[in-house]
Symmetry: C2
DNA sequence: GTCTATATTGTGATAGAC
DNA sequence: GTCTATCACAATATAGAC
């Protein structure tokens, strides 16, 4: 067996990973500015100094968390949207996968959007990580296949002409809104967690058809 | 003429209002947790102590800003959605008014949604301010007319049956997304401000038709 | 690598002169 | 009402023992 150091409190734990995970939880629920290093250390079960040992500063930790979180979600979204799947099935697959994935961590989209508001410079690094180095407007290359697909379907008269940006704003907007507006919906419509889950199920079932009808000529 | 005190730097200014406005700007762009009392005072052209004189604490100021900001937008949204306007015109009017209003302060929706995430308890006060005291789930009363309208149109076979919550999530989601995702869209698609404005114009023109088609049976 | 202790700065808030 | 000066403490960050 390999000689491996063991933590006092957690025998086998990969400390760096535990810190990163705790940081993700705290950053996502408190927001980057509202998060406290103290709370992260506590949740990770380590001392606060260790956070600096591994990540140097709060800003470094925050960047690492954003990389980890956005590095999962953004590529998944882009790859699915730009796949070769036929448009109709692609829309349904996207809605289902997005809602099913995000409902497990419902505050993630809000965190990512807020983070991009305060640190827009962190996005390019994310996107190039998906597709390697790219010319200036990265999304043009990232939605190449989607673009061709939309043109083809429009030429065939099955849908109205629509650009990838608008398509993305429509599909993503419809999927994302329930999550970013979750507190509002819960309070305003008196939902509990179960009611919100049912609401998500209904959206999941209705959205693909709604989108397809909306795209019709 | 009434005897009125004058500030040293700004002859006629209503100080409290200047502070509130500066606070709104700073809170909206930095987020509540990231905002600094120092920066607000500077932007208002007054001393930091004055903020406490008028609003007691950062939390008090933050609550006042949220009341002021959400107190404009939320009632406008709800009243328009629940008006007696025929459904088709209502949808178009809503999309146009929402985009035209919010484009002047594009970060407002993000601020409101983030604020509701961290202080959901502040919403009920907002809603009751619109419609007076209400029984437990406020939105039920606030969308009474919309509800009736959707049922009537569904019974007539013009649209599919849809609940007010889903209707709101659809319409509002489509309108709101360009604003909350603005940084992402700008960076990912290499837009400048003018391109984003054109994008909004296109959305404004396309969304009403898209929604109506999507609602069809 | 992990801890305790401490330095250093940031930040909300108050006291008191004018 | 508005300012200057200052307090008190919270929060990030570092030093150094183990």
């Amino acid at each position: 067996m390999p000689a491996r150091r063991k933590s006092a409190t957690e025998p086998d734990g990969d400390t760096e990973r535990r810190i990163l995970q705790a940081a993700r939880n705290v950053f996502v629920r408190r927001g980057t500015a509202g998060a406290r290093m103290h709370e992260i250390a506590e949740e990770a079960g380590v001392n606060q100094a260790l956070l600096h040992y591994y990540f140097r500063s709060k800003d470094g930790l925050s960047a690492a968390v954003f990389r980890e979180v956005a590095g999962r979600l953004i590529p998944a979204v882009l790859n699915l949207l730009d796949s070769d799947e036929p448009l109709e099935r692609k829309i349904e697959a996207f809605v289902h996968l997005y809602i099913d994935t995000v409902r497990q961590t419902p505050f993630l989209p809000g965190y990512i959007l807020a983070e991009l508001h305060h640190h827009p410079e962190r996005l390019p690094a994310m996107v190039t990580e998906v597709a390697g180095a790219l010319p200036a407007p990265p999304a043009a290359a990232l939605t190449r296949r989607l673009d061709a697909q939309l043109r083809e379907r429009a030429a065939a008269g099955v849908i109205r002409p629509i650009s990838p940006v608008h398509f993305l704003a429509t599909v993503l907007g419809l999927c994302v809104f329930p999550f970013v507006a979750r507190p509002m919906l819960i309070v305003a419509f008196g939902m509990d967690d179960a009611a919100f889950e049912r609401f998500l199920d209904e959206r999941r079932a209705e959205l693909p058809g709604f989108i397809l009808r909306g795209l019709q000529p």
